[in-house]
Symmetry: C2
Subunit: 265 residues, 2 copies
């Protein structure tokens, strides 16, 4: 079967899209796919880390809004879709082993362990849809870039061995759009909610907007204000610090597409 076009992919309802991904017929990013359904960051941990991580999510709901958590050993997210299998239903994964570079794969069936616990965490792809629906243009999308992200000086609330700074994503907006964006994103606590900060980046420990820690830089116009939202990269940054022996995440931009509408949870 030939690789489908992006336009064809964008028409597919989530269960059909996931089937395609499961068969290995699509391994690209999921931005703009899934017909306005909620997408999720994926973190898979061994049981020895899972309880600490669950508590980390509970203590840091802005950065880590927990959409679902599997039973130990189960690859399913019953709350997000009846037939989801997290071993195959994301287009690309990263397998992280302590002391090694992460390996990118499109299926993790061979890596699966009996005590793995999978976590689905809210993702800004969904609140960006809500902003676009409100008529608010997003610079990084207009430029075809990844969103701009920084390690801030806002500490997460630690849970056991898990601790570190909150990673924030930044979007520049004019004042009236910024006010509207705060109103819109406040309605979506499960996809990071309202911004954590706006205005002077130095107040949250960001020295140079032009040099993000993750993603791509975007230019700010003179009449624009930077707005900073808690970012789902936070748990990955924290895990990279503590280096569990083995854990698996989605590859950046390659999310789980759920059966829930973006404004449903």
């Amino acid at each position: 079967m030939p690789e489908p076009t992006f336009h064809e992919l964008a028409q597919l309802p989530p269960p059909v899209l996931r089937q395609l991904i499961r068969r290995g017929d699509y391994t690209g990013h999921t931005s703009g796919l899934g017909q306005r359904h909620l997408q999720a960051n994926l973190v898979i941990l061994q049981k020895s880390w899972a309880d600490e991580f669950l508590r980390f999510c509970a203590l840091n709901p802005r950065a880590c809004p927990l959409l679902d958590v599997s039973e130990p050993g189960s690859p399913h997210f019953a709350r997000l879709g009846a037939d989801i299998d997290v071993r195959s239903d994301l287009p690309r994964y990263r397998v992280h082993r302590r002391g090694q570079e992460p390996v990118e794969v499109s299926d993790i069936g061979t890596f699966w362990e009996a005590d793995f616990v999978a976590f689905a965490i809210g993702c800004s792809f969904s609140f960006e849809q809500a902003l676009l629906d409100a008529g608010i243009g997003l610079r990084h999308l207009e430029l075809g870039r990844n969103v701009t992200m920084y390690r801030s000086s806002i500490a997460t609330r630690p849970s056991g061995r898990l601790a570190g700074p909150t990673v924030v994503s930044m979007r520049p907006l004019k004042a009236a759009e910024a006010i509207r964006a705060i109103q819109v994103t406040s309605r979506f606590p499960m996809t990071h909610g309202a911004p954590l900060h706006l205005g002077d980046p130095a107040l949250i420990g960001i020295r140079d907007l032009a040099r993000p820690d993750y993603g791509d830089p975007v230019p700010l116009a003179a009449d624009e204000i930077p707005l900073f939202w808690a970012c789902g990269v936070t748990p990955q940054a924290v895990l990279a610090e503590v280096q569990p022996e083995l854990y698996i995440s989605h590859a950046p931009g390659h999310m789980l597409v759920s059966d829930r509408l973006y404004d449903e949870l």
Copy 2:
């Protein structure tokens, strides 16, 4: 009867407070009075201006959220309280005659005309209560000053002879408080709603924050952002431009205290 203390006044439910005011036993400002009930700006116009003004309010709901409008000749606001008489129930009024300085009086019974129409317009005293309830401190209240107001370059939508700039009130807040304040005030469209602007004052035509057009200046700390809300002084500024032959308003800070709770409408 001796003038009651402010503490005693603050305990009075609105109908009792209004009785006191009606008898002429209290002529002071109403900030902090009325037990968390909605307060209103008052504008009284002759019929020849009333229709244009009603349309002005409809076209500019952020600056002029209309809480009630009387029948021509009637001094009552049925929506705001059963026994309200706008000729006597505010502590102080300003009577404006074309080409003359306004006269301050505590009762307008002798000025009342058979074609007068009274307008009750939402007032920031009420949304300030909501901000205080959310734990957000307000600089001008801490300093015991009147709120800072400016004529902005944001034009109102004109209605007949009525046109002019939107007057905005400014409150400085830290970024996290600013985000929370936008969330809180968005819930109260009848008391000016969310801010119109935040950040750089020059973008809305304000050259010097230290020199307000109305009210008192307040200092901004280095980590604070100015937030600008549409202000109920807008209609008075517009009326002062066109100078109707005769109109009456509340004296600044001396509002109508209604029987509606601040978050009821």
